[in-house]
Subunit: 305 residues, 2 copies
């Protein structure tokens, strides 16, 4: 199953050097999740040939413009292009108010069902679950209510080793084997031992999105060992004071968190407009955590099972 | 003095074929006026090297997203880039509500004074005046409150013919001559006859912006003879029924209005996403009014004095 992140934008505050505002697409199987939606996101989706009609969930971290001003236009385009599939938007308090007021003045009644899920950004809790994944909030520390998101695949079924499977097993028995059960006979004795005919399940992949926030170690238990951590790195560490003052992080801090949380890979983004060349940010982070990459527009990061 | 229109976008409803949503910059002297502000306008301003800090007035025709969803981001960027110059926004009822709610949730307090001027879109009236120009509303007929805008230079002073000017004239007397007065002696007799020492003033230029609207002849008296008319032409005339139903116009209708209003030049825009090639729209309009042009992104139309 596909588990892939696509970067649509990674500029903080003001768009600059052709870097667009924050937006990412996380594809898990057939499901597209949009994470944040800065201005111009619908154009970026077109540019990278991502079909917006396939997006089923939108996650908005906070109500600063560079993270959600593209939402109005995207919803409007979905409506004008005859979307009928329901859409769920997860966001902080206020987002529903803002959208409702705009619908009122534009006299808009969408063709599709729009479900708002208002988030408590101060806690770590599950906000979404389907057959394959769960999504939890990650409390951030920013100037307004803000949370990150942790996407995690659910535990997967064990693999059946076909060469070792007896012929007499029925489909329900195969399901039980996949779920880790032994197959018993009528008297309760083990007929087929699970470990003899199955192998370990594929691992469950995970992605943590942390933006915008001050450096914040108390989220480490939640993101421990994730396959991919996106963490904002608005500034270089020589601007640490400014980072603290504006409730942002430095590249060094992002890498330190990645190191302490023992994540597999780090992606930094939300770059300040003062950095035309992003190499110093990358180098600063890599000095602490080598497997760091820049969240450049158009970049795709697939995570293998 | 410069009188120049720059097209930043001309796509209707949904952005398509790299055509952005409606936005235009009308430069009159040192003053930049932004007319409508679709999503991505701040990026288009950057692309065409228009300094947003020089914009003093923003005119929003109506509250459909393709005409104002870029406003939030542009204002935010003005604020983040330390604007201190006051800004006036002219727009229909509701715009102030929408912006105020966003400021509340993003906890934003702008560095610069933002003045909202709520428009009555149903009447033709003056909404702005300075030393050089006036701006009037043009009532449109659309699905929500909507008006166009008529920009007109004020009558200009007469030119002094230096070779014919007597030496003895004082600066106040020269001003009176420019204003068309004769210069009298102490007894009230004509000392210098105006027409002997001055020539006709430069003409006053004008620009009418009409979007979005059904074909509407009752605005002809207001736009009669303007130098440049921008009129929406969402559809070809073979979709007239759809144009009427959606409160839009066809290219033929735009040209018919230009012809009847005896304007000097017509610019058509607000193209439906169904037209990848815009040539048929241009040809349809030119068949009725030859001096028609497409409102293509990046195009600049200067009007000479």
């Amino acid at each position: 199953m596909e588990f892939e992140l696509k970067i649509l934008g990674s500029s903080s505050a003001t768009p600059s050097y052709n870097r667009n505002h924050t937006a990412q697409i996380l594809t898990i199987g057939n499901q597209l999740n949009l994470i944040d939606c800065g201005e111009g996101t619908q154009m970026q989706l077109m540019r990278y040939k991502v079909k917006h009609q396939r997006i089923s969930n939108i996650f908005i971290s906070h109500l600063h413009g560079d993270h959600f001003f593209g939402l109005f236009g995207l919803l409007s385009t979905m409506h004008l292009q005859q979307r009928t599939t329901p859409l769920t938007i997860f966001g902080p308090p206020g987002l529903a108010d803002i959208l409702t007021l705009q619908f009122k003045y534009s006299n808009t009644h969408y063709n599709f069902k729009l479900d708002f899920q208002e988030l408590d950004t101060t806690v770590h809790q599950q906000i979404f679950e389907d057959k394959y994944i769960t999504v939890h909030t990650l409390p951030m520390q920013h100037r307004v209510s803000c949370c990150g998101f942790l996407f995690r695949e659910k535990p997967k079924p064990r693999h059946l080793v076909k060469a070792k499977l007896p012929d007499f097993l029925s489909p329900p028995q195969l399901v039980r084997l996949k779920n880790g059960e032994d197959i018993l006979d009528e008297t309760g004795n083990i007929l087929v031992r699970n470990e003899d005919v199955t192998s370990e399940p594929s691992r469950s992949r995970s992605y943590a999105y942390c933006s915008d926030t001050r450096y914040k170690e108390d989220i480490i238990p939640y993101i421990k060992g994730v396959d991919l951590l996106y963490h904002e790195a608005t500034f270089l560490d020589n601007m640490l004071e400014r980072a603290v003052y504006t409730y942002h992080s430095t590249a060094k801090q992002a890498a330190t968190l990645a190191l302490k949380a023992e994540v597999k890979r780090l992606l930094i983004g939300h770059f300040s407009a003062r950095y035309k060349d992003l190499t110093p940010l990358l180098e600063e982070a890599k000095a602490v955590f080598d497997n760091t990459h820049l969240a450049l527009e158009g970049k795709t990061i697939g995570i293998l099972e």
